[in-house]
């Protein structure tokens, strides 16, 4: 057993259950502040993790539950990542509490349970745990996306996510069944031992493709991206933010683990498949984002494009590429959460999140305007922000492989075209903030202290990762050493 390894998960589950219990006794008006309590609790867990949880060495993995659960550098990296994301999302949710008619306590608790799923996902070393953690994440999100019961679009988002999510779950389960049927293994480590023999079995490969397709839904990669814009637009903003960063990162850590721990031999032959998926995802996301007028929908398409960029690192099939994925995700965390926090605050009173609602933001709140501008610049990959160095690492990883396989050069150019296209629509957002003619509402936007801190934190994160990438580059390189 070795239960001590699951310390993050235990603490977060305990926090979530405690929150539900306390919710029973707290009077309604004070319930929104439970979010701060939850965020503080997660801060404590994160600090504990940073100071007391260690991995003996990057190559050594500690196992629990009969090797279903693995604690290694990669897992630990992502656990801290998810904890940080959840803290910012919780602070954002408190600001959103006014729009949720009833049950804000449950909203916070569901975020914590989705977080638990992500924590498990970052340590999954077995198809069973992969499936369970994915389901924990997805089921929590079914409720989170449709939490604004009074709003039609929120319900629509929930239903769409439910249907598509159920479909992807079906794919995953069917794929796992096929893989298990052929190999008789569920554990990633065991599977890696037998892929040399059964790697060419068509049914086995078909099963793997289905599993990857299931994960493709999570990260919103082409051709499984169709849900993303609708769900991003309709869901409550904090849920969208958590979906954008948490669910996507969970999909990526599982993808990395399946491809490079369970079936590294097969992954090595999938270079072309990954190149094509990555290239199309980048182009699809960027091209479809151009005509969007709804900010959340625009970010939905942009998140598809970013899934494509992240897939560059996976497609490179090298340690440098995988480390770049980790780096890029870290930059993406600060960037995308900063953007959604601003949207959450500005659009609190407005129903549609049209770009016009951003007009005059620079006069209403210079901090929010600056944050949104920096977030857009970082998403577009402009130095000295995190997005630039992330894209640089990804491109470098892809070009490094180009000597062996010219397809990688085509991929690098596709990414380049994508970046140029994306400048157009990110620039459009900045333009709406700073120089749009009609600005109806010019009332200042009140900011609570915790939100202010989280915004400053995101800005600092974007700048730090852009200006001092050294420490995180090394950390990411250490973390991916467990992958082959």
């Amino acid at each position: 057993m070795n239960i001590g390894l699951l310390i993050h998960e235990w603490l977060v589950v305990a926090l979530g259950l405690g929150l539900l219990l306390v919710d029973l006794w707290v009077p309604s008006p004070a319930k929104r502040n439970l979010g701060y309590a939850a965020a503080l609790g997660l801060c404590a867990i994160l600090l504990y993790s940073l100071f007391f949880v260690r991995v003996p060495s990057p190559e050594i993995t500690q196992y629990a539950f009969g090797k279903m659960y693995a604690l290694d550098g990669l897992g630990l990296f992502f656990k801290r990542f998810f904890l940080l994301a959840a803290i910012i999302v919780l602070v954002m949710s408190v600001e959103f509490a006014d729009r949720i008619k009833a049950g804000i306590g449950e909203f916070y608790a569901l975020i914590l349970f989705a977080l638990t799923g992500m924590l498990f996902a970052s340590s999954a070393n077995d198809f069973a745990l992969l499936f369970v953690s994915l389901e924990l994440i997805t089921v929590s999100f079914y409720v989170l996306t449709s939490f604004e019961r009074g709003r039609f679009s929120s319900l629509e988002a929930g239903v769409k996510y439910l249907i598509i999510g159920a479909l992807s779950t079906g794919f995953t389960v069917f794929g796992i069944a096929l893989v298990y049927g052929i190999s008789g293994k569920l554990n990633f480590g065991d599977l890696a031992g037998v892929t040399a023999e059964i790697g060419s079995n068509r049914i086995f490969l078909f099963g793997l493709v289905l599993v990857i397709a299931g994960l493709g839904f999570k990260i919103a990669a082409f051709p499984f991206q169709i849900w993303a814009p609708d769900v991003y637009q309709g869901a409550p903003t904090p849920a969208t933010a958590f979906l954008a960063i948490g669910s996507k990162a969970a999909g990526f850590v599982l993808l990395l683990r399946v491809l490079f721990i369970a079936v590294p031999d097969v992954a090595a032959q999938w270079a072309n498949l990954l190149i094509i998926i990555s290239g199309i995802t980048i182009l699809y996301g960027n091209l479809c984002a151009i005509p969007q007028r709804n900010v959340k929908r625009l970010l939905g398409y942009s998140s598809i494009a970013h899934a494509g960029y992240l897939l560059l690192g996976v497609a490179a099939l090298s340690a440098a590429g995988r480390a770049a994925v980790l780096y890029y995700l870290s930059g993406y965390l600060f960037t995308v959460l900063a953007a959604f926090t601003v949207i959450c605050l500005v659009m609190r009173q407005v129903d549609g999140e049209d770009l016009r609602a951003l007009a005059g933001l620079s006069r209403r709140s210079p901090l929010l305007a600056a944050t949104m501008t920096l977030a857009m610049a970082s998403l577009a990959g402009i130095p000295p922000l995190a997005g630039f160095f992330g894209k640089f690492l990804l491109l470098k990883a892809v070009i490094e492989q180009g000597a062996a396989q010219p397809g990688y050069y085509c991929l690098a150019f596709t990414a380049l075209v994508g970046v140029v296209i994306s400048l157009y629509y990110y620039f459009g957002v900045v333009r709406a903030i700073y120089w749009s003619e009609e600005a109806g509402d010019l009332s200042p936007i009140p900011l609570s202290e915790p939100v202010r801190v989280s915004l400053y934190g995101c800005i600092a994160g974007m700048f730090f990762l852009g200006l001092f990438p050294g420490p995180l580059v090394n950390l990411a390189a250490e973390a991916v050493k467990v992958l082959r």
């Binding site: 610049a377 491109l395 070009i399 490094e400």
Partner: protein, 518 residues
């Protein structure tokens, strides 16, 4: 701490400082911006005077400083100067000061404007001082992005929004192509370092030249990536519209200094590190540069707006620099660097004067203006001198540079040089003198009776400094050429050593032999 670090950091720190100044302190903002760029410019002058020739050898750089940044990837903050960039940094710092001086015309959102201006200045100086491929690109992007925002917010004209998008997308594409080329260069060299001196050592001293296949695709990436940034024909269409819509200071800094980044990249990186392909592509470049010199000059003649005219003429002048680079001779490359510096001062002067006239009259349509010399003797005289410099009158730095380029190119591309002479001397003179005649001479329309000359020394200062620089380097080009020559020679040697066995290399070796024979 190297003096270069101070030159780069001074504007950047000032930008940071301005971020904390309240919006109402307008004088403070202006003062900080002017002071910071002045300090930078003075330090650059000091550096230029202290620079006593690069040491010959693999790292012949002065005022070097190196700090490891991401050691896992071989990226370090590494600055230093040799003969090629010492003049460019001096020019950049002086133009930045002039640009800060003319920014009094900005009346709204001054804080943001000055912050962006200072970031742009710091980025430009950093790009020219960097000896690390990553920072070279990083600083350039840092300077490029403020350009877009400044055109978008403070730009003028009806097509401002279109111009903003066009220049953003076009230049980003160029910059990204160059980035891919630079990364590919890093990857293919196998040296695991972005450091330019280390790469040079790796490729030349240790004989690890890049494989012909790798050079074959990296060089066009760099050539066209940098070419888009420098408005190489036929990728020049962003320039006139962009400059026509940009606020004065932005146009001065971009056309004068930032645009030279691509040329500097070609000379510093693409030629010496990819010698085989460089030799193969140079004839193509020589013919393309005729597009700049002749075609864009021709188009400039037909312009009705003065800013568009300067925009096209600045595109046309890039042709000389490309021609000098394409010749791959010592004289040609020395001349190219000289024209880069001279044109930096000239373009800044032209756009500064155009901006002043626009500020006074509210229009730059050439047929609406006229007789302005009577109302503004100082500005008019300065404009006339700038026009003379533009058509290559001896005594101005442009003449020294252009004639050197033409001498250098004659031995290699005689036909191109003949056409270039026509393009430069005849067409250039026609549009410059026509503009002077229509704007400054003739009857003064009544509506311009109230326009005023630059009232006091403070307003005149930027133009005086730029003109003085043009005249000093025009009368004493040796100040620059003596510094440029040893390093240009080194680059020519590297290209020839690398390309001797290559198929495209025969041409230049012949030319060099011819030159030796003379």
């Amino acid at each position: 701490m190297s003096i270069l670090t101070f030159i780069i950091c001074c504007p950047l720190l000032a930008a940071l400082l301005l971020a904390f100044v309240p919006n109402s302190f307008r004088v403070v903002m202006r003062g900080v911006a002017v002071l910071a760029t002045l300090i930078s410019a003075l330090l650059a002058v000091l550096m230029f005077l202290l620079f006593n020739g690069a040491q010959v050898g693999a790292t012949g750089y002065r005022f070097e400083q190196q700090i490891a940044w991401v050691s896992a990837l071989g990226i370090s903050y590494h600055v230093g100067v040799d003969g090629i960039n010492v003049g460019l940094i001096l020019m950049g710092a002086i133009v930045a000061f002039a640009a800060a001086c003319v920014s009094w015309e900005i009346k709204e959102r001054e804080k943001e404007f000055y912050i962006l201006l200072l970031v742009m200045a710091g980025g430009i100086l950093g790009a020219f001082a960097s000896l690390d491929l990553f920072f070279f690109y990083f600083f350039h992007e840092l300077a490029l992005v403020p350009t877009f925002i400044m055109i978008g917010v403070w730009g003028r004209g009806e097509r401002k929004n279109y111009a903003t998008f066009q220049i953003t997308l076009y230049l980003s594409l160029g910059a990204l192509l160059a980035l891919v080329g630079l990364i590919a260069l890093y990857v293919q060299s196998g040296a695991n370092t972005f450091d330019i001196p280390a790469l040079t050592r790796h490729i030349f001293t240790e004989q690890h030249a890049l494989s012909p296949g790798a050079q074959h695709f990296i060089f066009p990436l760099l050539l066209f990536g940098f070419g888009i940034l420098v408005s190489l024909w036929p990728f020049h269409t962003w320039a006139p519209l962009g400059y026509g819509s940009a606020p004065t200071a932005t146009a001065m800094l971009h056309a004068g200094v930032l645009k030279k980044f691509g040329l500097y990249g070609l000379i510093r990186i693409a030629l010496p590190l990819l010698p085989n392909e460089a030799q193969g592509w140079m004839p193509v470049l020589a013919w393309l540069c005729l597009g700049n010199l002749v075609y864009c000059g021709w188009v400039a003649m037909r312009q009705k707006d003065f800013n568009w005219l300067i925009g096209y003429s600045s595109v046309a002048h890039m042709g000389f620099i490309f021609l000098g680079i394409a010749s791959l001779t010592l004289i040609g490359i020395t001349g190219a660097v000289l024209v880069m510096i001279a044109h930096g001062f000239l373009a800044a002067l032209m756009f500064g004067l155009g901006g002043y006239i626009f500020q006074q009259t509210g229009t730059l349509r050439i047929d609406e203006l006229g007789g302005l010399l009577r109302r503004m003797p100082f500005i008019g005289m300065a404009l006339m001198m700038a026009a003379f410099a533009g058509c290559g009158l001896p005594g101005f730095a442009n003449f020294a540079g252009e004639i050197t380029v033409l001498f250098g190119a004659w031995t290699v591309f005689p036909q191109v040089t003949i056409l270039a002479c026509w393009g430069a001397l005849i067409i250039g003179a026609v549009y410059a003198l026509r503009a002077v005649r229509n704007i400054l001479h003739g009857p003064l329309p009544d509506k311009w009776a109230a326009v005023a000359d630059a009232p006091h020394l403070w307003r005149k200062l930027p133009f005086v400094i730029l003109l003085a620089s043009l005249l000093i380097f025009g009368c004493f080009p040796g100040l620059l050429t003596e510094k440029i020559k040893p390093n240009a020679e080194q680059i020519v040697k590297m290209v020839q050593a690398g390309g001797r066995n290559a198929p495209g290399g025969a041409l230049v070796t012949q030319a060099a032999a011819k030159e030796d024979a003379r």
